[in-house]
């Protein structure tokens, strides 16, 4: 198969399948449609993950390589937080204390794994240099995590009631992420120099801001389109009730509201 065709089939069609499948499974009401959507997601994801082999000539396959590299620590973090959360004070389906310990271990392992990808030899390398997608992913993740933690600190203060512990936790997360960024900016990693990290962090900020502005504009236009469509549907005006209809209504109301004395 030709290189461009390989990239089109195994990367772009797979990406479209993944996107369509996730939207279908999320928004569909029918169980069958949701199942089909999940099938699309699985097939699309598998195809994307295998692009380093199926479409190795395409530069886009670096994204598939990145997905494969971050899958392990991301799953550890997600499942770990789930285990910790649902072993707490939940009314039904509470997990055991050992599940919680396993969850804590999974989260710690996930964080250490991610750190080892920057500070040790686990840095995603594709094909023979640091994966370009990793250089975009890592600073963006740190910066957005920091932004989110700072914002959530304020949100909890605004809507929470006696949630000082959660606010402190958000401060800890924000400081941790900031410390990681400052370390990356001041110390060379084994495969990423501090100057390169600084440049990528600035580009990540531009990227993040651009993505948020673009998404906000799309949502705004979406709202405008729906507003105009809905505003064209003016309810049908009925003629005023006639005297006869009013008297009929009056009789029914009187029968039901006034009642009568019990015999």
């Amino acid at each position: 198969m030709e290189e461009a065709t390989q990239a089109f089939v195994f990367f772009w069609c797979a990406g479209l399948l993944f996107l369509t499948g996730s939207l279908l499974s999320f928004f569909s009401k029918g169980a069958l449609q949701r199942k089909i959507g999940m099938g699309f997601v699985v097939v699309g994801l598998l195809s994307l993950l295998t692009t380093p082999w199926t479409a190795s000539a395409s530069p886009s396959s670096a994204f598939g390589h990145l997905l494969g590299s971050i899958l392990g620590p991301s799953v550890l973090l997600g499942v770990g937080f789930y285990q910790i959360g649902f072993s707490g004070h939940v009314p039904v389906g509470r997990l055991s204390t050992s599940d919680r310990r396993i969850g804590v271990l999974m989260v710690v392992a996930g964080v250490v794994w991610f750190e080892a990808m920057h500070w040790w030899t686990l840095t995603p390398t594709y094909p023979d240099e640091v994966n370009r997608s990793w250089l975009i992913f890592w600073p963006t993740m740190l910066l957005f995590g920091f932004t989110l933690a700072c914002g959530m600190y304020a949100v909890i203060g605004q809507i929470g009631d006696r949630r000082v512990r959660e606010q402190r936790l958000m401060v800890v997360v924000a400081l941790f992420l900031m410390a990681l960024m400052v370390m990356g900016l001041t110390m060379d990693g084994p495969s990423l120099a501090k100057e390169r990290f600084a440049a990528e962090l600035l580009l990540a900020a531009a990227d993040l801001f651009g993505v948020l502005v673009g998404a906000a504009m799309a949502v705004l236009f979406f709202a405008v389109v729906l507003y105009f469509y809905e505003s064209t549907h003016v309810p049908v005006h009925l003629p005023a009730p006639t005297e006869e209809q009013l008297q009929h209504a009056e009789r029914i109301i009187a029968d039901n509201v006034l009642g009568g004395e019990e015999a």
Partner: protein
């Protein structure tokens, strides 16, 4: 109707979302004296790509909306127009010489590279949300239920 207290709370929250990151980025920029041009190019590319792709995602969500509205054509046509406008704008700006070109030889390569970068950024947003949201959720669900204290009559 929003009270002044609610409005000030909203402003404070918005400031907490923006100011710390802005200060961090400005300090990095100031200490490295990096060129603004590459950042602007990246910002515009990211904005156009995000607009086009998010419009496309919203277009797909209209099928769910259509289930509740007897499948109207008008909003669907409106969103298709928006997606096409996004693609056309991106192509137009990319074809203006080196205005929005990064390390890519052709307009098509830059366009596809923008989409891959958007996907990478989205993956980063998801993982960051898992970290922050997971921490918060774990703490909230591990808080003991509060006893309701009734005042003595």
């Amino acid at each position: 109707m929003n009270t002044p207290k609610q409005s000030s709370g909203f402003v404070r929250t918005a400031l907490w979302f923006t100011i710390p990151s802005l200060l961090l980025v400005l300090s990095v920029w100031w200490s490295t004296s990096a060129s603004v041009e590459s950042g602007v190019v990246r910002f515009v590319n990211a904005m156009l790509t995000s607009f086009t792709l998010v419009s496309f995602m919203l277009l797909v969500t209209l099928f769910a909306y259509g289930d509740a509205r007897r499948r109207p054509i008008a909003p669907l046509a409106g969103m298709i127009f928006l997606v096409l406008a996004g693609v056309a704008l991106t192509m137009f700006f990319l074809s203006q010489g080196d205005l929005l070109m990064e390390e890519n030889a052709s307009v098509r390569a830059q366009f596809l590279s923008n989409i891959v970068r958007f996907a990478t950024t989205s993956a980063a947003l998801v993982v960051a949300t898992v970290v922050v949201g997971g921490t918060l959720l774990a703490s909230l669900l591990n808080t003991p239920p509060r006893a309701i204290v009734f005042e003595e009559e």
